[in-house]
Structures are given as structure tokens and as C-alpha cells.
């Protein structure tokens, strides 16, 4: 940009770098402070001017409370199932048997390559139509939600686990096998504990996305948080009161979930956990 500074840098690199670092830090402080100030002013304006607290109290129970509990329930079930299914997908993906690994690969390609919204429609509208009118399950929308979230996120968890397994040097498997361990034993005792640690960040990230994906369930006529927002907005024309509630509700799930994941990561990392191997 400026040839002057370029020349100065040549002359006295150390001093300039220090100056630049300090200026850079200051710029960061000023930038983030301004940003934070803007956000605080905006939120303050919303909370003081835009939010109708009488309406807020009216809608927080039962509508939002039930929507919130419903989301937590669906997340809890889908989350556990998707991690279990994801481990299976991941193991199949790294299988040395061509057939198994290519089936797992196609599974991942499909569920990562098409939108979750589309998958939900396939499950909820497409599948029951195969029974042409005599589909036996009532309230299939809840099943469809859990099935859709599980199948979709199993693909992401599987892929994360594959990355974790492949980051372990081949030598470890070879060494375990040469010690007389079976493939399963080597996986369970040696590879997976390390692979798990390596992929935990990616899996946790995916589980946070799973929470947010529940917003798509509004199209399955499940009264979750976004449906509650839409219903209140269309009947009162008040947008900001339900927006504030929706934001709080999602963050009440994702922030603690993030904490749990960080704790798990720390526990799985021998460097921070005193190394009990």
C-alpha cells in the first residue's frame, strides 16, 4: 500500500512490527467495542421500546414453554440416536471391505448432499403415501422428525468420526494387530478412544447444528419454537416480542450444550487431564 512504510520496515523491522502489533491490538479493541456498543444499543432499544411485556408474559406459558420442552425432547432423542448411528456409519466408512465402505460412502453422500428439509418431506409425505391411505402410525410427524434428524446427523457424525480414525497413524492398528489383538479389539482399545477425542469438536459442532435444525420441523406441523413465533406474529403482528423469546430459548439450549462439549473435549484430552493412560 504505502511504499514509505515498506522502506521503514526494511530499515528497522523490529520496532515497526511492535508498533504494528500495538496498533493492531488497539484497532481490535476499538472495533469490537464499537460493535458491542452498537449491539447493546440495539438490544436495549428492542427490549425497552419494541417488546410488549404484557404479551411476553402471556405467551411464555404455555405456548413457548411447551414448544421449548418439545424441542429439548426431540433434540435429546435425536442427538443420542444420531451419535450411535453415526459411530456405525463411521466404522462402516473406514471398513477395509469395499462393499461396506462404499455403501457407507453413498449413505453419507446422500444425507449430506440433499437438504434436511427435503429429507423431512420425503419421510413425512413420501413414505406414508406408499401405504396409500392406510398408514398405521398416528402423529407420524414426531417420528418423522426424529428419523430425519437422526439419519441426517448420523452422516455428519460418521464423517467426523472417519476423520478422527484416519488421523490415527496406520502403524497403531498394525502394532495392535501384531500384538495379537483382533480388529475389533484394536479398534475399541486403541484407535477409537483417540479417534473419539480427535473428532469430538466436529461431532459437538454438529450436535449444535442439530438443535438449530429443529426449526425446520415447523413444516411438519410440530409446534416448535419457530411455529410459536409464526403463530404469535400472524395473530398479533408483533414481531419482536416472540423474536426475543425464540432467541433466548435456542440459546438456552445451545450455550449449555457448547459448554458440555468443551468439558468433554477437555476430559478426552490427556494434555489437560493429567494423562491417565
Amino acid at each position: 500500500m504505502a511504499t514509505d512504510t515498506g522502506r521503514t520496515a526494511d530499515r528497522d523491522r523490529g520496532v515497526l512490527e511492535q508498533l504494528n502489533d500495538r496498533a493492531f491490538r488497539r484497532l481490535g479493541v476499538v472495533g469490537t467495542s464499537l460493535f458491542a456498543l452498537g449491539v447493546v444499543l440495539f438490544i436495549g432499544y428492542i427490549l425497552l421500546v419494541r417488546v410488549d411485556y404484557a404479551l411476553l408474559v402471556e405467551i411464555v406459558y404455555p405456548q413457548f414453554t411447551f414448544a421449548f420442552l418439545r424441542v429439548i425432547g426431540i433434540v435429546a432423542i435425536s442427538s443420542v440416536l444420531s451419535v450411535i448411528a453415526g459411530v456405525i456409519v463411521g466404522l462402516a466408512r473406514v471398513s477395509r471391505t469395499r462393499l461396506t465402505s462404499s455403501i457407507a460412502k453413498s449413505y453419507i453422500e446422500f444425507f449430506r448432499g440433499t437438504p434436511l428439509l427435503f429429507q423431512l418431506f420425503v419421510i413425512y409425505i413420501g413414505v406414508p403415501q406408499l401405504w396409500s391411505g392406510s398408514f398405521p402410525l398416528e402423529q407420524f410427524n414426531y417420528y418423522a422428525a426424529v428419523i430425519g434428524l437422526t439419519l441426517n446427523h448420523a452422516a455428519y457424525v460418521g464423517e467426523a468420526l472417519r476423520g478422527g480414525i484416519e488421523s490415527i497413524p496406520d502403524g497403531q492398528m498394525e502394532a495392535s494387530r501384531s500384538l495379537g489383538m483382533s480388529y475389533i479389539q484394536s479398534m475399541r482399545e486403541v484407535i477409537l478412544p483417540q479417534a473419539w477425542r480427535n473428532s469430538l469438536a466436529a461431532i459437538g459442532n454438529d450436535q449444535v447444528i442439530l438443535v438449530k435444525d429443529t426449526s425446520l420441523l415447523t413444516v411438519l406441523a410440530i409446534p416448535e419454537l419457530l411455529s410459536a413465533f409464526r403463530q404469535i406474529n400472524s395473530s398479533t403482528f408483533d414481531a419482536w416480542t416472540p423474536i426475543v423469546l425464540v432467541a433466548i430459548a435456542y440459546l438456552m439450549i445451545t450455550v449449555p450444550l457448547g459448554k458440555v462439549i468443551r468439558t468433554l473435549e477437555e476430559r478426552a484430552d490427556p494434555a489437560t487431564h493429567g494423562g491417565d493412560d
Binding site: 391411505g133 398408514f135 402423529q139 407420524f140 403463530q231 400472524s234
Partner: protein
């Protein structure tokens, strides 16, 4: 169905229509500007060739042009701001499949009703539901934010809360849910439901029949059970009584001479 807002294409259509209005309106007559939220099938929408058609458009042609001898042009305006726009004199009247209700009547004056929509119940062919009381404890499908959803909500109150409502994004999803055994009934506008009952759902679904709100109001009641009656009206500013009377006369005239029925059967067969 209550109107939602369509913001798309507002500018382009408005400009095109304004230009067309200038070209055609050289006869010294007054041009009546009509505010409308386009597209809203089958009331106002554009064909793939860009021609504005629909039930409202044909009624406007019959009333304003043929009966009263005015030029007219449609001005696109999103539905949620259409009443303030009328009162700001952005156009003279609103024709936008607008249901006459008390809240709106506080801000505008309505013509006599020119279209009637009913909230009706559609069930599977083999269903044993034949009255609103039979709906106790069942699950119904509706479209989010529509007057069908509102009708379901008030039915729920009538049934002491013993009604479950599944709210879908779009009405085809609610009909799919009905065919797939996910809901027992769908509550929706008669004209839209009739297209489904006589179309893709033929032989699989039917209207619940019987007397309902329409019969109570002594209307020329359709054969199926109606939960509510919604009348569409043309909206005027509150200081425009003279013109409103003129239009009411023209509406009566086109009902009299069969023009109305002709237009009606063009858009709502059956």
C-alpha cells in the same frame, strides 16, 4: 383464506400497469386506480404472457368499465399495508380478495359483498364424521395464519378444547396429511378445497355435509357444512360514499344480468 403479503414483483407490475394505463386512458375519462396484492390465485395473477387476469380483475372490468364507463388500472400493493395506502390516496379502491370484518370496517367502508367464501371440513371418504360434534377429540390440518386456522381455533373452543390442530405451511401439505392418515380432517376455504376434492383427491376425500353457518345466516347455502361465512368486499375511503353507492349499483346490475355468474363459473367450476 386470509391474505398474506406478496412483496415480489410489486415494482415491475406497478410500472407496467401504470404505463398501460397512460396509453389507454386518453379519452378524458377518469381512471379508477385499484389497489391489489398481486398475485393471489385465482383472484388476481398474471399469466405467463404477463397479462393480468383473475376473478377480481374480471369483476373490475365489468363494474368499472362496462357498467360505469370508467377506465381502471390495477396498482400492486402488499396486503399488510394496503389499507393505509388507500387512506393515503395511493389509489381509489381496494379489490384484493379482502374479507369484510369489523377491524377493517373501522378504517375503510366496504361495498356490498361480491364474493363469499366458506370455511369447510374435508374428510376421507370412509370417515364417519358428519357433524361438528363428531370432530371432538380428532386431529385436524389447517394452513398457518389463514382464516381456516382461525375457524379451527374457534371450533376447538366450542368443543371445550378437545380438538388437535396441526398447522402446515401450505395447504397441499395439509391435504397430503389427510390422505396419509395423519389428520382426520382439513379445515379450509371451500373454493380451494373443492379443487382438491374434485381433483387429485377425487374418490378418496369428501366434504362434510350438513347445515352450518351459511344456512344460519339464511344465505344461499352450499350443500356442505360451513363453519364460517366470509364475504369479500371492495374497500373505499370513508369519505367516498357517493362512488361506493355507484359501485354497489353496478355490482347489483352485473348479478342481475348474468355477467357475475359467467365470471364466477370461469374461475370456480363446480
Amino acid at each position: 383464506m386470509d391474505r398474506r403479503s406478496y412483496l415480489k414483483s410489486a415494482g415491475a407490475t406497478g410500472a407496467a400497469l401504470a404505463a398501460a394505463g397512460c396509453l389507454g386512458g386518453g379519452g378524458g375519462q377518469e381512471t379508477i386506480q385499484i389497489g391489489s396484492d398481486i398475485p393471489y390465485r385465482p383472484f388476481e395473477y398474471e399469466t405467463t404472457e404477463g397479462e393480468l387476469v383473475g376473478f377480481d380483475v374480471d369483476i373490475a372490468e365489468a363494474v368499472f368499465a362496462e357498467e360505469l364507463g370508467y377506465d381502471y388500472e390495477f396498482v400492486n400493493n402488499s396486503f399488510d399495508t394496503i389499507i393505509p395506502s388507500l387512506n393515503n390516496e395511493n389509489f381509489r379502491v381496494i379489490m384484493s380478495a379482502m374479507t369484510i370484518n369489523d377491524e377493517r370496517a373501522e378504517q375503510v367502508d366496504f361495498s356490498d359483498p361480491y364474493f363469499t367464501a366458506y370455511q369447510t371440513i374435508v374428510v376421507r371418504e370412509d370417515s364417519d364424521i358428519s357433524s361438528t360434534e363428531d370432530m371432538r377429540g380428532v386431529r385436524v390440518g389447517v394452513q398457518k395464519g389463514t382464516t381456516g386456522a382461525a375457524a379451527a381455533q374457534s371450533l376447538k373452543e366450542d368443543l371445550d378444547g378437545e380438538l388437535e390442530i396441526n398447522e402446515y405451511d401450505q395447504i397441499p401439505d395439509a391435504f397430503s396429511a389427510l390422505l396419509n392418515n395423519q389428520v382426520v380432517a382439513v379445515i379450509n376455504d371451500n373454493t380451494v378445497s373443492a379443487e382438491f376434492v374434485n381433483g387429485e383427491g377425487e374418490g378418496q376425500v369428501r366434504f362434510v355435509e350438513g347445515e352450518g353457518a351459511a344456512a344460519e345466516e339464511g344465505e344461499n347455502a352450499p350443500p356442505y357444512l360451513t363453519l364460517t361465512v366470509e364475504n369479500y368486499g371492495i374497500a373505499f375511503r370513508q369519505d367516498d360514499d357517493e362512488f361506493r353507492e355507484e359501485v354497489n349499483g353496478a355490482l347489483a346490475a352485473i348479478r342481475e344480468d348474468g355477467t357475475y355468474d359467467e365470471i364466477y363459473s370461469e374461475y370456480f367450476a363446480g
